[in-house]
């Protein structure tokens, strides 16, 4: 719950996202349902954005080096927080996560990105996991994920 009394005054009057949206219970809204949107890990995003950057650099003329500030800021962000550098690790992580069929694709991306140390940490930071996977399978998954980090 957003505690209004603690929100700075400038944020008080503005429109808030509909209350039914809540990542903790996997309510991401119609546009981001698992049929319509595929969650990506930070490592996958890092690969896509650096490919795009290289492609743009190969162009000649005024188009080269022309990136939106949104693009540049996200590239900087994913380069800092990419835990599984390189295509091979990113693919290994994706293949590993896909084997856990009970998990939602959004939870898979969260696990890869946050890389929690154990099941308790995972279930606290990603609360929707609570009744989906038992602690020993989750611990095994987290151990395997950690083995791909750099």
């Amino acid at each position: 719950m957003l505690n209004r009394s603690r929100v700075p005054s400038g944020l008080r009057s503005v429109q808030l996202v509909p209350e039914q949206e809540d990542a903790a219970t996997l309510q991401l809204g119609e546009d981001f349902s698992s049929e319509k949107a595929q969650p990506l890990t930070i490592s996958e995003v890092a690969i896509l954005l650096s490919r795009k950057r290289d492609m743009m650099r190969d162009l000649e003329g005024p188009r080269a080096e022309e990136f939106s500030s949104v693009f540049k800021k996200f590239l900087e962000y994913v380069e800092r927080f990419d835990r599984y550098k390189g295509l091979e690790s990113a693919t290994n992580v994706r293949n590993l996560l896909q084997r856990y069929e009970s998990l939602d694709p959004f939870e898979m991306a969260c696990l890869a990105n946050l890389c929690p140390a154990d099941a308790e940490e995972a279930k606290t930071t990603i609360p929707s996991l609570k009744h989906k996977i038992d602690d020993s399978s989750l611990n095994q998954l987290l151990q395997d994920l950690a083995s791909f980090t750099h």
Partner: protein
């Protein structure tokens, strides 16, 4: 967490001077110029166009203008923040009122009341320092793990408020 591949549609308008063999390139370039870097409340930040779906649709001529409109379908990489999710962010500013942190271009404000009470604000170094462990300090460029508590949308931007007042949140790295 945050990043998604989604399929979107955009009506791209093309001037008749482009009605030649390079039309396809013009369409794709115009699409990228018009959507990349934009922000909408519904889909969040459009970071990059990944693929334009083929075959391209037929254009519809606008009567009386000569322009043609092409409803292009494309796959885009977007970043859409959600209330309740845990994200890693980079601290950009520390004040006695709280911490400003960023995930790419998205700013998230963590108010003083959402910071553990055993961290005190130090005016001189512009940081929050742990009373228990002096070496633990949150300052500009620190990485913090936070939970998004609320999101504000307006026409062209998102701002969010967050908390580090829970287990496993706070300073990382």
């Amino acid at each position: 967490m945050g990043f998604f591949q989604v399929e979107l549609t955009k009506n791209v308008r093309v001037h008749p001077r482009h009605f030649h063999s390079k039309l396809k390139e013009t369409l794709i370039q115009t699409l990228m110029d018009e959507v990349e870097g934009t922000v909408s409340g519904r889909f969040g930040f459009v970071v990059s166009v990944l693929e334009v779906l083929q075959p391209l649709p037929k254009g519809i001529l606008r009567e009386g203008f000569g322009f043609a409109v092409y409803p292009l379908k494309y796959k885009a990489l977007v970043f859409r923040p959600f209330k309740g999710e845990v994200l890693d962010a980079v601290v950009t500013n520390v004040t006695r009122h709280g911490i400003f942190a960023q995930v790419g271009p998205l700013t998230i404000f963590v108010s003083r009341h959402q910071i553990p009470s055993d961290m005190t604000h130090d005016e001189e170094t512009a940081s929050y320092i742990s009373v228990v462990e002096k070496a633990e300090r949150i300052q500009r460029d620190s990485a913090i793990r936070l939970r998004v508590n609320g999101i504000k949308i307006d026409a062209s931007s998102f701002t969010a408020v967050g908390t580090i007042l829970d287990d496993y949140l706070g300073l990382i790295e």
